[in-house]
């Protein structure tokens, strides 16, 4: 295996992982606020369609991304109203959101099947991208790859270093206490859900804008579920979501390359790996029994002011 190939593999891993980074962070911000949203897959595909439609009309990438984020946030808003205002069961509502998103995207996407969007140009970072092997692997990407890394760092900073982040975590850990301290639990969760929906939408749009610039129904192919597993695997920490996504991405890409190199591992095992890794991570977390590294205490619980 020569250096150019290794560079190409790393490049492909970053591309394959980027939708997972966005969607994983989108699930994470909601879960840190105490909201379990199983609708990530639906949010992703709606974002994928919205981003693609805008890109098809010849608009710049930034506008496509905004459209995808908007579509994700809009669908997430429905979830927020159902779960926070009408106090619907979050698990059932999340599943419904996935099914609804897939269906709605298939319905409105049917007319765009067969169209190809213009490929997104890479932003090569001067100097850095000239480094042999690693330069092309790490610094010759489309803007969204850099954006996903930046988003992970910003989210980490927000959650750990700002007052806003502290409030969000307080709402996720103990919503009654947060409420007693005068914070608007419902308000914080509304915001978290919409932001998370926007991120998941961008994650989906990465598929239709960069990875395969076309739209077909069901093309997220379970990535939303991997993103949910990823958050658990990462013990609800943004930077670990980033690493975990790259790990999951590596598994996919290395498996393909190993086959082409003539090393065969049963593909079924490798498809299982993200979920197996999540189970192992859960076991490790609970074996250590450390407070604060595991799930937010109020995750998935319905908050009622009147109580």
């Amino acid at each position: 295996m020569d250096a150019t190939l290794i560079g190409a593999i790393i490049h492909a891993i970053l591309v394959a992982s980027t939708p997972l980074v966005f969607a994983g962070l989108g699930a994470l911000i909601q879960e840190r606020a105490g909201v379990l949203n199983l609708g990530i897959e639906g949010l992703m595909i709606v974002g994928a369609l919205a981003g693609f439609v805008v890109a098809l009309s010849g608009q710049p990438l930034a506008l496509s991304v905004v459209a995808a984020a908007g579509a994700g946030a809009a669908l997430a808003l429905i979830f927020a109203i159902l779960v926070l205002r009408l106090e619907a069961n979050p698990v059932a509502t999340g599943l419904a959101l996935t099914l609804f998103g897939l269906g709605v995207a298939a319905l409105f996407g049917a007319q765009y099947v067969g169209a190809s969007a213009p490929p997104v140009k890479a932003w090569s970072i001067p100097v850095l991208s000239d480094i042999p092997v690693l330069g092309r692997a790490l610094f010759a990407h489309d803007p969204l790859v850099y954006g996903s890394v930046l988003l992970a760092i910003m989210l980490w900073w927000f959650l750990n270093k700002t007052r806003g982040g502290l409030i969000l975590r307080a709402v996720g850990e103990d919503h009654d206490a947060a409420h007693a301290m005068g914070f608007s639990v419902i308000g914080v969760r509304f915001l978290a859900i919409c932001l998370g929906g926007a991120m998941a939408g961008v994650g989906g749009a990465y598929l239709t804008l960069v990875q395969t610039p076309m739209f077909v129904e069901g093309m997220t192919a379970g990535r939303g579920w991997i993103a949910l597993a990823l958050v658990v695997f990462a013990a609800w920490r943004p930077l670990r979501v980033l690493l975990g996504a790259y790990l999951f991405g590596s598994v996919t890409i290395l498996q393909l390359h190993s086959q082409a190199l003539g090393i065969s591992i049963a593909a079924q095992w490798l498809s299982m790996l993200p979920y197996l890794a999540t189970v192992v991570a859960l076991v490790v977390i609970s074996a250590r029994g450390v407070q604060g590294t595991s799930a937010p205490a109020s995750l998935g619980k319905t908050f009622r002011v009147s109580r």
């Binding site: 190939l5 077909v216 069901g218 093309m219 996919t252 890409i253 065969s264």
Partner: protein, 368 residues
């Protein structure tokens, strides 16, 4: 709290069930019992731009051919397994006269449901189990693969052909072997790199596989998966590719050399016509270039004239029965002899093909 949890699970299950059954669509009003009802079960979405798309074109051709005399229904994106059995029974209960199940993985569900509904006619694509009310049909796609292999062998500069494969079933293995033998016959140095993606339809994964193959030196891609993702990547990276099941030139105007096109319309019209006339009987149809069930998309501009001429000659020779893509001497991958010089493969061996021919590297993944 306990009751609440159970309720949530029940609700979730109900939602999933509801979603599974609501992609069924009827295209004609109900209640006209004198019409022949033809049902179709698809493994992917009608809009996949490949395999399922072409089956649906066949269904539309049946409607166009018989007008008021038929009524067709279809269910798309049916998973291969117990769910297929449920969908099939429902279709039979709803009064279908003939049901086409259009993927290899529907074989056992179709056999089972055919036993329960002896008065309904079943037609299973690409399988090998038959009964009095269960016919099988398929196309000799390997004939098309032979022509693709000839073109690829002559046009590759890196001597490396990338092949994106779905599942190690005979149909797919046969395609790889046919393409390889043809490529090898015109280019002794040719090498096939094969990636199994374990899916018929996941554009993201198909694209990743295409990139991996290109990064490893492939300059021509073949695929046995259903989406045009690989074609699109080939176009972006400036290499060539062959489409699958449908003309994919829209996704790779410069990249597509040609494409195998499945044309199911003649068969579907013939079989539904037989039900209308009351002459239907169980049979095994395996049509190729000669029946029009396998066709090729127009050759791409990049194909040189001499290659084009050779490809056309092979297509006509196969169509007229003068050429068989599997003609000896051919050894199996392990070196054991399969076909003696001049001997051609029999259909039984082809239908159950579970080995690579000599010269292909790597091992076949264990079957599904």
């Amino acid at each position: 709290m306990k009751g609440f949890g159970t309720k949530a699970v029940a609700l979730a299950a109900a939602l999933v069930l509801a979603a599974c059954s609501d992609n069924e669509q009827a295209s004609a009003p109900e209640g006209s019992s004198d019409r022949v009802k033809a049902g179709f079960i698809y493994v992917g979405p009608v809009s996949d731009g490949g395999w399922t798309y072409e089956h649906n074109q066949g269904r539309l051709a049946v409607e166009a051919a018989f007008g008021d005399k038929v009524e067709t229904t279809f269910v798309e994106s049916v998973s291969e397994g117990p769910d297929a059995e449920r969908v099939l029974s429902q279709m039979a209960n709803d009064g279908a006269d003939i049901i086409f199940t259009t993927s290899f993985g529907f074989m056992n569900p179709t056999v089972k449901v055919a036993e329960q509904f002896p008065n309904v006619k079943f037609e299973h694509a690409t399988g090998f189990k038959r009964a009095d009310n269960l016919a099988t049909y398929s196309s000799r796609f390997y004939e098309g693969r032979h022509v693709l292999g000839l073109i690829a062998g002559q046009m590759t500069k890196t001597n490396t052909i990338g092949y994106i494969a779905s599942f190690p079933i005979p149909e797919v293995v046969r395609g790889i072997n046919a393409a390889y033998l043809a490529a090898k016959s015109v280019n002794p140095d040719v090498q096939f790199k094969i990636i199994w993606v374990s899916t018929w339809f996941d554009p993201g994964k198909e694209a990743d596989a295409a990139k991996a193959l290109i990064d490893q030196g492939a300059d021509i891609l073949m695929q046995h998966t259903d989406s045009p993702a690989a074609m699109q990547i080939a176009e972006q990276r400036g290499i060539f590719a062959f489409g699958q099941a449908s003309d994919m030139a829209a996704h790779g105007p410069n990249a597509q050399l040609t494409s195998i096109i499945d044309d199911w319309a003649p068969y579907y019209i013939e079989r539904v016509g037989a039900v209308i006339d009351g002459t239907w009987s169980s049979s095994d149809t395996w049509g190729g270039f000669n029946t029009g069930m396998v066709a090729l998309a127009p050759y791409g501009a990049a194909v040189p004239d001499d290659v084009k001429a050779m490809a056309e000659e092979a297509r006509i020779a196969i169509s007229e029965g003068r050429l068989h893509p599997f003609t000896g001497p051919v050894n199996k991958q392990d070196g054991s002899p399969w076909l003696a010089a001049g001997e051609t493969a029999d259909d039984g061996t082809l239908l159950g093909m579970d080995f690579y021919v000599e010269g292909i590297e790597g091992s076949l993944p264990s079957g599904q």
